[in-house]
Amino acid sequence: MMRSLDRSQRQVRQTLTAWSFILPSLIGLGIFVYGSLVYSLYISFTSWDLLTPAKWVGFANYARVFRDETFIQCLYNTVYFVVAIVPLGIVFAMAMAMALNKQLPGIGFFRAAYYMPSITSTIAIGMVWLWIFNPDQGVLNALLKLIGVSNPPRWLESRVWAKPALSIMRLWQVSGYYMIMYLSGLQNIPNELYEAAEIDGATGWQKTKYVTVPLLSNTTLFATIMLIIEVFNLFEAVYVMTEGRPGGSTNTILYYIYAQAFQRYRMGYASAMAWVLFVILFVITLIQFAARRRKEEIGF
């Protein structure tokens, strides 16, 4: 009797201690994350300019999102950026990781050099590339002229070249991060597999194709999802380099949300777009995991 009382007392005390450890985090997250989520959902059903009281409008904001030509254009731009950035980013990162997966003196320097752009702020990087892409004073066109291109593109000023320019800048900035992920993936591949392939007479390229790439598929799946999410969240580069110009050809969903909310004060409409973007990202992640599972069932 005494003992069980003692035990339950101890339990109560442990519960109290446990809660005192997690409560500060829970309260903060409760307000700034969970509370904000509910609040955001509410705002998305209203028309609100911050100054006058919010007015309930039902699903009107959501209905408008899919009729909004600018939103559709942002969506199209984003798909363009996904196609331009994701496959190339994966290939660069994997190829660089294979090239740098050697124990050579000074290899650490090359890894660090390749990785450095991804820790530097997009705002600062964006300014540097703004100058690189400058058609008259920039280094890129100076180079192009040097190798004989007499009429180089006007990059960020051109409807055709602005998207490729932004894609180049982002590829340069992010692929080092994924290279490090691939490096750790490579180091997890057991050497015996390569030895077995060699005994079967596999060439270097065959080893890459049938051993390395398939065994990195987990890293590739993860990197693909992260890269796609990253492209969908393209914002700072657009803010610094183009502000969505020329003619909205580099506008992105997040930049449009920002502009609607903080330049036009359409909080309700911006919130509705934020939720649409969230649902899109969520569905993409689910599809990719489902595709992955199917592949495993077939026995790839």
């Binding site: 450890f21 997690i22 997250l29 994350v33 820790i119 600062a124 100058w131 004073q137 490090i180 934020a274």
Partner: protein
């Protein structure tokens, strides 16, 4: 890969005559000058921007890691009802893109009267996906610490708080360093939130200040390159010194470093 860095840093020491008249492929400043830095510092209060960023990038990670390791200790070692449920609920936050909470957070901060105050700059960023990531990371780490270390202390009558402070935390230095580095980088580079809540030059962090400078001087590349160099150097120095913690952030979880 580092060519754009080299190019912009060298350009920051060139005279404007060399920048606009010379060959852009010529990397060596001739003559070298500090004028661009002087100009950048005189157009806007850059020293304030740097100090504000230093403060932001120190306080947020320190607060976040402290709160996270408290919660993580509870999740890793203590028994209580609903523990696993709450943990799962928290993990869901990591799946959540920050832009969904941007507008309500702004509205909330505005209602609290925090606009243009350090409280708006610092407090909301503590509570987000980063905190949950830190909880997750620290919990994994605590689970790898042998229990024997604490049991002796508990038998000696040490409280859970005492164990956390005197045994768990001192045994977690590498994990804490990894999170501190990631946190410093994230906050040093953060732009969207500070840009929305701060437009007072005296309280502005560096990334926001840079964009104001850009609007002020348009395409005076000499001044802009001096300013971007100033904004990048602290991070590069930290990167050089703590490179392995940056790598560890990616390697242990595949998520860190962001």
């Amino acid at each position: 890969m580092i060519f754009p860095f080299v190019w912009s840093v060298t350009a920051s020491f060139k005279t404007s005559r060399q920048i606009y008249g010379g060959n852009p492929l010529d990397l060596i400043p001739n003559p070298a000058t500090l004028n661009n830095y002087r100009k950048a510092l005189s157009v806007l209060p850059f020293h304030r921007f740097l100090l504000n960023s230093l403060m932001l990038a120190s306080i947020v990670p320190i607060a976040s890691i402290t709160l996270a390791s408290m919660a993580a200790y509870s999740f890793a070692r203590l028994q209580f009802k609903g523990r696993d449920f709450i943990f799962m609920l928290l993990l869901g936050v990591m799946m959540l893109p920050g832009h969904v909470t941007l507008i309500p957070r702004y509205a909330l901060v505005r209602k609290l009267g925090w606009i243009n105050k350090y409280t708006a700059l610092i407090i909301p960023p503590i509570f987000g996906a980063g905190l949950v990531f830190n909880i997750f990371f620290m919990r994994q780490h605590f689970l790898s610490i042998p229990r024997e270390l604490e049991e002796a202390a508990l038998i000696d009558g040490c409280s859970s708080w005492g164990v956390w402070r005197n045994i768990i935390m001192p045994n977690s230095k590498p994990a804490i360093a990894t999170l501190a580095i990631i946190g410093f980088k994230t906050e040093w580079n953060s732009f969207l939130w500070p840009n929305v809540v701060i437009n007072d030059f005296l309280k502005m962090p560096i990334q926001v200040g840079l964009t104001y400078l850009q609007t002020n001087v348009q395409s005076s590349w000499d001044i802009l390159m001096a300013a971007t160099t100033l904004s990048i150097i602290p991070l590069i120095v930290i990167f050089m010194c703590f490179q392995r913690y940056f790598m560890a952030g990616i390697l242990t979880t595949g998520l860190g470093g962001r």
